[in-house]
Every structure is written in C-alpha cells, then in structure tokens.
Amino acid sequence: MIHPHPPMGPKSPDSPRRAGDVQARFDPTSRLGRRRGPRSSSFRSRVGAWASGGGPLIWLTAGAVSVSLVMVLGLVAVIAVRGLGHFWPAAVVETVYHSQAEGEIRVLGAVRRSETVTPVVLREIGYEIPDEMADELFVRHLFQLGNRDLTGQDFRWFPGPPFTGEWSYPEDVLVLERTEWGNFFGYLRGLQENGHVVAEGEEAWPVLRDRVARARDLRRRIEQIERRGIGSVNIRMERLRLEERAMELQGDEDPQVLAELRARRAALAEEYSVLEAQRLELQQEIQRDAVVAETMDGRLVDIPLERVIRASGPNRMSVTEKGRHYVGKFWEFVSDYPREANTEGGILPAIFGTVIMVLLMSIFVTPVGILAAIYLREYAKQGRFVQFIRVCVNNLAGVPSIVFGVFGLGFFIYFVGGGIDRLFYPEALPAPTFGTPGLLWASLTLALLTLPVVIVATEEGLTRIPRSIREASYAVGSTKAETVWKIVVPMAAPAMMTGLILAVARAAGEVAPLMLVGVVKLAPNLPVDGIAPFLHLERKFMHLGFHIYDVGFQSPNVEAARPLVYATALTLVIIIIALNLTAIAIRQRLREKYRSESD
C-alpha cells in the first residue's frame, strides 16, 4: 500500500469525501433499512426478515442466559426458603386422631410438611378407607411431636380430616429445646425449685423465662470453664508429658529439670482442681430448677432446666416475639457448636473450618501458582518442553478431586507428615502429630488441586499485557526483571485475582478429597484458639460441605436434620459468595489501578 499523497497537498490526510464514505459504510440504520424491505410484506417474509436479522440467534442466546439465571436463582431460593424457614417458631397444633388400631389419641405437635395422597397409599399403610371414599384424595401431615425420650418417635405422619378432629392452638403449649433428646412438646403446668413448686399455671410463664435465662447463663459459664479452663489445662498437661517423654528418649534426665516438671505438673493439677470445684458448684446451681409439664398423652413430667436451652410458647407469641426467637435461633445456628450428632445447635466449627481452610489454601496456592506462571510465560524459552508442561498443568485441572485426596493422604500425610513426626515429634509417637489428617494437609491438598486454575489464569493475564507496554518499559532502559516485576506483573494482578477467585470457588465446594485429608464429623476444638501457637495446623477440622453430607446422609434423625441440610447449604453458598465478592472487589480496584489502553 502506497499512500498517494502529493508532497504539498491539503493539510489533513483524510479528505472529507473519504471520511463520509467510511461513515456510510458503517451506518447500521441504512443497512437494516435495506434488509427489512417494505413494511406491508407478508407474514412469511416478515419471519424471514426476522430470521435474517439475527432474531433467532438473539432469542437463543438470551434464552440461554435466562435458563442459567433461573437455575441459579431457583437454587438459591429453594435452599433459602427451606433452610431459613426452619428457624421460625411453628404454631403447635392440638387435635384428636381417630385411629382404628390405637383408638382416639391426642396429638400435639408442629406440622412440618403436608402432602396429598390417594386412598391406595393410606390403605397400604394400614388405614381402612371405605369404598365410597376410594375416589377422594386425602391430605396427610408430618407432625413433629418431640419427646423422643418418652415415645421414641418424634416425627409422625397423621392423615388430615376425616381421621383427625378440629385443629386448635392452645395457649399453654410449651416447646422446650433441650440439650439432648430433641424438642419437648407439652403443656406448661408449673415450675419447681429443689423439688418444691414455686409457680403454677399462667404464673409459671414469666418465672420460667427468667429461670431459663439463669440456667443458660450458668451453662455458658460451665462451658467456658470446660472449654477454656479445663481444656487448656489438659493441653498443657499433655505438653508436659511430651516434654518428659522427650527427655526420656534423649536419655538425659536432669534431676533438676525433672523436679521442675513435677512442680509444674503439681501447679497444673492444682489449677485443675480449682476449676473442677468451680464447675461442680455451678453444676449444683444449675440443677436447682425443673419445669413440670404435661405431655400429649396426659403424663406429667419433670424436666430439669439444666437440660433446657430455650423455652417458648409458640402459640402465645406475638410476631415480634417470634421475630426475636427467629433471630436468636439463627444466631445460635451460625455461632454455636453442634449438638446431638450435628442435628441440633450450630455450625460454627464448620463455618470456621471452611473459611480458615480456604484462606490457608489461598495463601499456599497464590504465590506458587503466580510464580510458576511468570516463569512459564516470561522466562522460560517458549518451546516444545514448555508447551508440554502447560498441557500437563491443564490436565491436572481435569483430574478427579478424590485422586488429589488419595495423593494428599499418601504423600503429605504418610510421607511428609510421618517424616515430620519422626524428626520433630518423636516423643508423641506412636500417636501421630502431623502424620495424620489435619488442617495443613487439607489446605495443601486443595492448593495442589487449584494450582492449575491459578497458573492458567495468571498466564492468560500475562499474555494479554500488550507488547507495546513492555517495549515502552524497555525503551526507557529497564532491565527484563524491572519490566516484568514493575510493569507486567502489576498489570496482570487482576488476572491473578481471577485465578484466585476460581480457586476459592473450587476449593470451598470440594468435599471428597477432604474426607481423606483432614475433615471430620465432629472436631472437639477449633483450629484457632487462645493457646499458643494459636493456629493449630495439625488439628482436624469441620467443613460445611462435609457437614451437609454428614447431616443429610449419616444422621440418625432424618426429619430433624433435613432443614439443617438446607440451612447449612445456604451458609456454604453465602460464604462462597462472600469470599468471591471480596476477591472481585479487590480485582475491581486493581483493574481501576492498572487500567491500560488495551482494556
């Protein structure tokens, strides 16, 4: 192409006519106008025009977006509704059930689910349905009856009318959440202090509320003493034992040091007995009160407040009270330890474990992945070998995650962890310290699992840095190192964040490998606490993903666990979204900062 400008031509290189040409050629309206043709055309030609104008393609692509959107929103909505509804205090129904086998029984419980069934189903489970009703549909309800300790069956299906009578919502219904045996449903009759009745009937309600609060306070103090005080003493005692054993192994038992150890042990024992005495005293106090209640089958039972976590009368609560109850329950769910084989209580350890594991994973994977990508893209000679490495990295991303779990178990735990134990913790053997699944190994395994994602994303970012920017840097006399580290890497930072976002999303949702390398159903201690070194990398931990699996599939009480599965899943989704949003916000700031012409 030769530019045909005479040496002394007009000042502007583009003559006006040429500019006009270009505009006409790219004017979208003129083009559409030509395609569409006259308005009065037949339906067919209009369809044809729609098709040729890209209509179907637009619908197809927009449709795909809508489907994805509906699926995502639907998913979140389903788990949100099912999970969050659980914490709302359900009204307790009293009704009479006419059973052919059991006669008339009084039913007192909260309806958890309802479904419509055909008579066939009812007949199969033992109801006699007269033939003239064979065409009707029936409703049946799943009642939560509670009182597992008394009846052994805390959920039961009852058919609706005509098998049950009128539904009523008695005011004096009492629901107790207990430390064991699940909920209690009954009627409040009175309150006892050391075996003597102190309040009865209606008067008992305010007294009950105060005394439950007192018991909760006492229980919290007992827990404090057990978890913080006694737990810490136990750990220090164990450390003493290990110190002693280490000296024994080394064979230099200095009598002076031994005496010192003995003194320290005595001091610990002293501390322990003080704590124990405190605990016993509190225990005594908490046992003072008991609530007297009548169950649905008319029995009077005493329930010590020691075992009551929360008492409520759902049928007498106003909406604000219910709201407060809801918030309290929800807060308990996210801030408390699980109870009763994880089907009650909170999921704090699982939230904590998930977050800390993801953070540790990020700390491990980010530097390694970024450095590897920088080497591959900026320093390595681009050739067959580097290409081969790249293919390997990409393939690593496709390896099933359980395989990483197996690798983590075999390599990290048995090989590395076992080695660390033999070298640094011989005194604890045969009990392993690092040679057993734990937080560190789980994080490392997931770091390995997500490494390809970070590498690929970072490399992608590095290749997108325009050549012109690199050349600009060289042109002012920077070395390769300065160009890479001062210009290229900062500009690729948003891409690195993208890698991290993808890695976090993948790691937070991963369950299978974790079961092999550190996640447990119930961890007695959080991996972070007030005892040095504060972060206990060797500890096993709980994880939301595994918690969902455990509660949903391994639970002895399926009906009680079901809402918790949804609530836990919702929590997991929220945590992942929160982590991602944080990372996206950081990335956005980096993008703003390193915005270049090419973006």
Partner: protein
C-alpha cells in the same frame, strides 16, 4: 570529530544481491555501486553510523545493505512504503529487535563511534541513551507523574525533589505541562491520545537520552496534536538527535532536516530534505513522494 567525518565519507558500499521484486524499480537507478556522499552531510557530526546493516526475521530479510549516517542534533526522517523496513531499521538503533527471538542483525551500527552490537555492550545503558516513542501512545497504567518518573526511578533516583524537577522539566519540554500540571496524580490513560503521545515523549526525554527514535508518532493523532508534536520535535532538536519514521510526506518535508527513502528493505537514497522532495536523485524516490506508484 575529523575521524568521524572521514568515516562518513567512506560510507558507500556495494549492494550485491537484490530480490527479484526490486529489479523493476531499481532498474532506473542503474547498479548503485558507489554512492556519492550525501551533500551537506559531511559538515554534520554523526550520531549513528550504519555500515551494511541488514536485519533478518528468521528466513525473511527485512532489511539489507543499509549504509547511512544520522547526524547529531538534526531530525532525520525515514520514509517509504509500508513494509519496507523503516520500523525495523529504527528498532535496530536501540536494539529493540533483541526482543524478537527470530531477529538477527548483520553489519555494524555505531553510536558515537562505538559498535552497539559488540559483545559486552550494555543494552540497558544503550536504551537509556537512545529513547523511543512508538506509533501508538503506550503510557504505563500509572499516574501521569509516575509515567514520566519511571525511567528515573529504575535508575535509582529516589529524591522527591529531583523527580519533581525532572518531571516538570520533561513535561514542559514536551509542551504538556500546562495541560496536566493539575492532574499529575491521575491515571495517564485518562489523557487524550495527543496528550498521551506527548506524555510518552516526555517519558522518553526525562532520562535525558542522546537520541530519540520516533516511529510514526503522529499516525494516531488529529491535525492539531500533530502540529503540536511537530513543533515539539523542532524544539527538541537543540538537545537531542531525532529520528522519525513517517508516512506523511508533508510531515517529513516540514520537520526533517534529512530524509532517507527506503524501498523493499533497501536504502534508495538519503539527502537533505529539500533536495529529496524537490530534486530527488532517483526516479523511485520521485515516484513515491509524488504518489505515482502503489
């Protein structure tokens, strides 16, 4: 000085092979065995001297047999049709082609008498002496201030007062100071294209090089910005040696003191700009600048 001038006069060389495509055009030239010394150039001090320079990208020969002298404190323009090797020639002057794996240089290029491709030459140092401005403005994704200060910072300048002074001086010299003095801490990409181009010129002169190479610096600019950059080049001539690649004949004729015409990887002729434009020595040059072939 006298030594260098002697070198200039000794420049003419024989071009041995020509690609088939060049025959046609060069037919009118006869065989350019001995080149007559460029008139007026003997009086100038040379910044760059090129001896039989060729560049190959793998198997592709982009440039060959180029002998020329680039005078100090003058503006030298490279003109020629697209793909004739202007950028290649320019980029070989500060060894920017080293970044292209496949590029190979033949012949010798001397800056102030020193072979810049000799083993042991510090490329980084060379690029500090020979700055470059590219066709498309390419500011760093940093603030206006940091763009200009970058070259000095990597040289280890830390003192804020020194940096401030250098930034102001460079921006003033690049005729940009008044426009950006209130937005020094704003991202450079927020400037207009013309301002960005003057910014990268300021960035280039901030490290006080001896030579500035400009590869089509105005091709993305409007006439007003172009005029600004052109008058800027005129100003800079006092302190720097400038080499500019341009497709714009008027620009070449307006700003440059010397013009070199390249065609198909070869130097056809070089001379004072007036002479090249009014009375070119070769038919090919005349055809090109009058737009008679393409």
């Amino acid at each position: 000085m006298s030594e260098r001038e002697a070198g200039l006069n000794a420049a003419p060389r024989t071009t041995t092979q020509e690609p088939a495509g060049t025959r046609n055009l060069l037919a009118g030239l006869g065989t350019p065995v001995e080149r007559t010394p460029v008139p007026g150039l003997q009086a100038e001090a040379a910044a760059f001297e090129l001896d039989d320079v060729g560049v190959q990208y793998g198997d592709v020969t982009a440039l060959k047999g180029v002998n020329l002298t680039i005078p100090r404190n003058r503006i030298t323009a490279f003109i020629g049709p697209s793909g004739c090797g202007k950028s290649t020639l320019l980029r070989s002057l500060n060894r920017m082609n080293d970044l292209v794996d496949s590029a190979r240089l033949l012949g010798e290029i001397r800056l102030e008498g020193e072979d810049i491709y000799a083993p042991g030459v510090d490329v980084v140092e060379l690029r500090r002496r020979v700055g470059m401005v590219f066709q498309k403005p390419n500011p760093f994704p940093k603030t206006v201030y940091e763009n200009v200060a970058y070259g000095l910072r990597i040289q280890g300048v830390r003192r804020a007062s020194v940096l401030d002074e250098a930034v102001e001086r460079s921006l003033t010299q690049a005729a940009l100071w008044d426009e950006v003095k209130d937005r020094l801490d704003k991202p450079a990409v927020e400037l207009s294209g013309g301002q960005q181009q003057r910014l990268v010129i300021a960035r280039a002169i901030a490290i006080e090089p001896e030579v500035i190479l400009l590869d089509e610096p105005c091709s993305a600019l409007d006439p007003l910005s172009t005029a600004k950059v052109e008058s800027l080049m005129y100003e800079l001539k006092a302190d720097f040696t400038l080499v500019i690649v341009t497709h714009n004949m008027q620009q070449a004729s307006r700003v440059s003191d010397y013009t070199a015409f390249l065609y198909l990887g070869e130097l056809v002729e070089m001379g004072p700009t007036d002479q090249i434009f009014l009375k070119p020595g070769e038919q090919a040059t005349e055809d090109y600048i009058t737009g008679r072939f393409g």
